[in-house]
């Protein structure tokens, strides 16, 4: 089983390395097939591992394996260590399964673009990094995976190097994530200093030995900082919408299904740490609630189809944070899984639309596509209904169980529960606003002019069947866990992360009824506003402008960090850099050059100089020795 876990981890890396090494010796399409195959191999290996694991006793379902130990100093060991347990296995399945579908989709989507090989090599590297993150056996490897996925995200957002917007977005994502990486690293320093190990079992076992609440709080806060940045939660969320500059499969894989959910994974994986610092855990839940409301509001006025879905992703991850923060780990992971299905579906379907409309992404220029792209319409409809939590699609089961758990978690939980319900309404509203604007009404002039229906050639087929598969998953994916009836997924996760909230059947039913009702209300309002009256955006006058500026987050960052930083930098440049640093650097380089010149002067090329240096060196040494001891 451990072997299959290693295969799962290393197979995408092998593909990435192979493509890099082969260079032009592999065809563009070959690179795509190779990567897709390698990720599929990962998925099969993960399945094999699953079948072995479920036949074991629940308490024994945890296997660590170290490929090699790099350095060991006392108990602190650095090495490539992986851990296979129910939690990591669930993530492996999601990452490799959804990943395989999305990479297969990319074969069609990226067909004909420049540098396909580079794209697929990056994709392979990303899947490896993500698997490394979830399979990590200690916090250091987790951080390594964390950094690597950030790197891949950077590379893939900026894949189209010729567009300045893509480069800027890539930089923004990287910098924001680097802040998160740094806070994790700081947390790990404190942790090593306190418990002298970073291995999960060792850390969790010695969590009681940590001296002082402050240390625990600091560790949890640092880790949360990383989680918030990676998962695009308030206040580190502004990079995600910009990240939509990347190719659509990248948005689907990295910025919807897998990487951005890493923060949730961390909250669940490191639950003993967060439970020890309960204030921070509550903070995580609160951040989730704030994000889901805020992102839902902003999504209402977005005009770029991918950005709408991106804000929706932020909002849905808010739900997961809410669940994981309130210790309802199983439900949080459940929502993570279903979200991966329906959000990847929405992105990939959006990709088909964008493809059909010659890369146009503005929903105001779309319309009436339901007749022209009927299958895509069906896919988006399934995704949208699942997202809005309408039964019996997957989103209904997972979102409602997260909310029901919140209802059980005291007063704080009930406040968050209310926020979550409002969020459900907003979700339905913005989702169906998008659907009605894109598919409803009469075809717009732009659509009439530019639409070219996908031909039934091979690239399109790759895109079609993967979307179909994801649509199927978005429908049935939620049936694995039905609140109050059966919950194998939560039971599976139980040994790793034990949930502390257990909603009653009444709470479940109350939540579901309210959520579905609100969802339907949202759809109805969307129909009334955007389909019946066909308005692009709701007329909310002042509020609308605020929302269009995304609640001024970018401006706030500009004011809080960029302006002062440039101001300080300008002054530092004038009063510190110029006279002190530049002066001294100039002096230093001049001095070094001068010295360097002197050394070459000494190097005369004449034997007598060399022998003189050798002889006088020896004589000097002897004289000094004699003088010291004499």
């Amino acid at each position: 089983m451990i072997v299959s876990a290693w295969i799962c981890l290393l197979s995408p890396l092998a593909a990435a390395v192979l493509i890099t090494v082969l260079g032009t010796r592999i065809s563009r399409k070959g690179a795509g097939y190779l990567t897709a195959l390698s990720v599929f191999v990962s998925f099969i290996s993960a399945l094999v591992a699953l079948f072995v694991l479920v036949r074991e006793e629940p308490e024994e379902r945890s296997h660590a394996s170290t490929l090699w130990t790099w350095l060991s100093a006392g108990e602190f060991e650095v090495g490539l260590r992986i851990l296979v347990d129910p939690l990591s296995l669930l993530m492996m399945l999601i990452v490799s399964g959804v990943g395989a579908l999305i990479v297969a989709y990319s074969i069609g989507y990226m067909h004909g673009s420049d540098e396909e090989r580079r794209f697929f090599a990056y994709m392979g590297l990303f899947v490896f990094s993500m698997l490394l993150l979830v399979q990590a056996g200690d916090l250091l490897i987790l951080l390594a995976g964390w950094g690597l996925v950030g790197l891949c995200s950077y590379l893939l957002i900026g894949y189209d190097q010729h567009r300045p917007a893509a480069i800027a977005a890539a930089k923004k994502a990287f910098i924001m994530n680097a802040v998160g990486d740094a806070t994790i690293a700081l947390a790990l320093f404190v942790l090593v200093q306190q418990v002298e190990t970073l291995e999960y079992g060792g850390v969790f076992g010695r969590i009681d030995e940590v001296g002082g609440d402050w240390a625990m709080t600091l560790v949890a806060l640092g880790l949360l900082g990383g989680a918030v940045a990676k998962s695009a939660q308030v206040p580190f969320h502004t990079w995600l919408p910009d990240a939509m500059e990347g190719p659509t499969p990248v948005s689907a894989l990295i910025h919807a299904a897998t990487m951005v959910t890493a923060g949730v994974y961390m909250l669940v994986r490191l639950n003993p740490i967060f439970e020890e610092a309960a204030g921070i855990q509550d903070l995580a839940a609160g951040i989730g609630a704030v994000t889901l409301l805020m992102a839902g509001l902003i999504a209402l006025v977005q005009t770029d189809i991918k950005r709408v879905i991106a804000y929706s992703t932020m909002s849905q991850i808010g739900y997961m944070f809410l669940g994981a923060g309130l210790t309802s780990y199983g439900n949080g992971m459940f929502h993570l899984m279903t979200h991966a299905f329906f959000k990847a579906l929405l992105f990939l379907a959006a990709g088909i639309i964008i493809h059909a409309l010659v890369m146009e992404q503005d929903i105001r220029r779309m319309g009436g596509l339901r007749h022209m792209l009927p299958r895509t319409f069906a896919a988006v409809l399934i995704g949208g209904l699942a997202l809005s939590g309408i039964p019996p699609l997957s989103g209904f089961f997972s979102k409602d169980s997260v909310l029901a758990a919140a209802l059980d978690a005291g007063l704080y939980g009930q406040i968050l529960w209310a926020a979550g319900l409002v969020g459900a309404f907003l979700t339905a509203l913005y989702t169906f606003r998008m659907i009605f604007l894109v598919f409803g009404g009469e075809p717009s002039p732009f659509v009439r002019e530019h639409l070219h229906r996908p031909k039934l050639d091979e690239p399109s087929m790759w895109m079609a069947w993967t979307v179909g598969a994801l649509a199927l998953l978005a429908v049935v994916g939620g049936w694995i866990q039905i609140a109050g009836v059966w919950h194998p997924l939560s039971d599976f996760i139980e040994p790793v992360a034990e949930s502390h909230v257990e909603p009653t059947l009444a709470q479940d039913i109350l939540t579901s009824v309210l959520a579905v009702a609100l969802g339907l209300a949202g759809i109805a309002l969307a129909w009334w506003l955007y389909s019946a009256r066909r308005r692009a955006v709701p007329r909310l006058a002042q509020g609308e402008r605020v929302l269009e500026r995304k609640l001024f987050w970018d401006e706030a960052y500009d004011l809080a960090f960029y302006r002062p930083a440039t101001w300080i930098a300008a002054y530092a440049y004038r009063f510190v850099e110029q006279p002190l640093i530049a002066g001294s650097i100039k002096g230093l380089t001049a001095g070094a050059r001068l010295l360097s010149g002197r050394t070459t002067d000494v190097q005369t090329g004449l034997l007598r100089t060399y022998v003189l240096a050798l002889g006088s060196g020896a004589a000097l040494l002897a004289l000094v020795f004699l003088a010291v001891r004499g």
């Binding site: 190097q603 060399y610 240096a613 040494l621 020795f625």
Partner: protein, 491 residues
């Protein structure tokens, strides 16, 4: 009169290379001309492989250090590990040399001398008395003098050989004089007996011993090209055929430093307070001089020559620490350092053969794009020299600094760190030159069209790169080996 018992096993690495040298020499006159190159190269490579295997067995079978052959050599893991490194260096040097344009009637001699030099080196690292010390030193030095001058049609090569010969003789003379003084004062040749004699006779303040120690240090510092005894290094490295330079830079330095540590630790523990400071000062001078002089070099071979001076400084820090950690650090450091310097000179050799001219920062431009494998390998070597992570150079420097810190000499650590910072400038300059300039800027057309790519050279470079990177990832087992070896020295 009793005759000494000869431990043939302890001598087996030397004998393997000696046999290879003899065979290659005979091959150069008895084998048909067409086959001379293949025959002698293969024999030489086999000699190094044999020496490596024998040294490996020696390491394995020597859990306790013993004195052998009338106390002339010491059979221990410290020497055996150094022998393994030397055998690897020699083996790869054969691969780098293979396509070098050596005159046909010198080709057999070339490999014979290479094997003979290797034989002298693996003999020397086992040396345990002043006689074997001098014998081994001259043995490999004489071979190297000729190897430097073997391209007799090229003035530079002749000049290098002659300079090395004359300055080298002077260095050997100083070493020999130092040995004589030490022998005169203590009446002992074997290192352990010297230590005992100094101890018993209270000769710590004896003028002869002190002067002898200083001269021994100078003589060994000369071979290790530590400043200020390094003056020959840039000229000889530049003039000698590049594969020979590669071999010298990696192997000679390794031998000299390993032996310096052995003799100082075993023969002069009583003078510890003196020589640790002296070695530390020599290390600082080497670091400063090597790095500063390298800054303005345009010629890559000269630059790497100065860089090798600075690396002698780093390794001398490990010796100055005079503790077991230092021994570990030295033995470990040799592995990535040897691989990186062999590889870097091999890349230069490849470029040299392409251009038919000396390689400078200007005409290496674009090489990273033209020859991606060599370009990536050069990246790795430069990063290893600079001591950046993902290469063994990082771990090596880390251990060297740890050893100095362990002794409480944080000032030495600071000196090392500053030197590392300076060195980044010129190491990165090489990478920048290889990639940042477009091939269009290349002013020199390749001589006579692009020569065929040499599989053996590329394979050697890849092997060097693999060792450089691999030593980073396999720290644990390698340090373990070095620890077992260093623990056999009487720190």
């Amino acid at each position: 009169m009793t005759t000494p018992a000869v431990d043939w096993f302890a001598l087996s690495p030397t004998l393997a290379l000696l046999a290879a040298a003899g065979l290659a020499l005979l091959g150069s006159v008895l084998v048909p001309h067409r086959a001379t190159r293949v025959f002698s190269a293969v024999v030489c490579a086999l000699g190094f492989v044999g020496a490596g295997v024998a040294a490996g067995l020696l390491y394995w079978k020597s859990p306790n250090a013993t004195l052998e052959v009338a106390d002339a050599i010491r059979r221990d893991r410290f020497g055996a590990l150094a022998q393994i490194v030397l055998a690897g260096v020699g083996f790869l040097a054969v691969g780098i040399s293979y396509a070098q344009r050596v005159r046909r009637d010198h080709i057999g001699e070339y490999y014979a001398l290479l094997a003979a030099a290797g034989g002298g080196m693996v003999f020397l690292v086992e040396a345990q008395n002043l006689m074997t010390l001098f014998l081994g030193l001259e043995w490999f030095s004489i071979c190297l003098y000729i190897l430097c001058a073997i391209e007799i049609d090229r003035v530079g090569s002749l000049e290098a050989g002659l300079k090395y010969l004359i300055v080298g003789s002077f260095g050997s003379a100083i070493l020999l004089f130092g040995s004589a003084l030490v022998y005169g004062a203590t009446g002992a040749l074997e290192f352990g007996e010297i230590a005992a004699a100094i101890e018993q006779g209270s000769l710590q303040d004896d003028g002869l011993v002190l002067a002898g120690l200083a001269m021994l240090l100078a003589g060994l510092g000369f071979k290790a090209s530590a400043a200020p005894f390094h003056m020959w290094t840039p000229d000889v490295y530049e003039g000698a055929p590049t594969p020979v330079t590669a071999f010298m830079a990696a192997a000679t330095k390794a031998v000299a430093l390993v032996l310096t540590m052995r003799i100082l630790v075993t023969a002069f523990p009583a003078e510890e307070d003196l020589w640790t400071i002296a070695v530390a000062v020599i290390a600082c001078v080497s670091l400063a001089w090597g790095n500063i002089a390298a800054l303005v070099q345009r010629n890559l071979k000269r630059m790497l020559a100065y860089s090798s001076v600075s690396h002698a400084g780093f390794m001398l820090i490990a010796i100055a620490a005079n503790n077991e950690l230092g021994g570990r650090a030295l033995l470990y450091y040799l592995i990535p350092y040897s691989a990186a310097s062999l590889g870097a000179f091999a890349v230069i050799a490849a470029r040299e053969r392409e251009l038919g001219d000396r390689v400078t920062l200007d005409n290496i431009g674009g090489m990273g794009w033209e020859r991606p494998t060599l370009g990536v390998a050069m990246w790795i070597f430069m990063l290893a020299f600079a001591g950046l992570p993902l290469t063994g150079g990082f771990v090596g420097k880390f251990y060297v600094f740890a050893a100095a810190y362990d002794r409480g000499w944080w000032w030495l650590v600071i000196a090392g760190v500053i030197a590392t910072a300076i060195s980044l400038y010129y190491y990165l300059a090489v990478i920048r030159a290889m990639y940042m300039r477009m091939p269009a800027e290349l002013r020199l057309a390749p001589a006579g069209g692009s020569p065929p790519r040499e599989a053996l050279l590329s394979a050697s470079v890849v092997a060097c790169a693999a060792v450089t990177v691999g030593s980073f990832f396999l720290v644990e087992p390698l340090i373990d080996l070095a620890e077992k070896a260093a623990s056999q020295l009487p720190f």
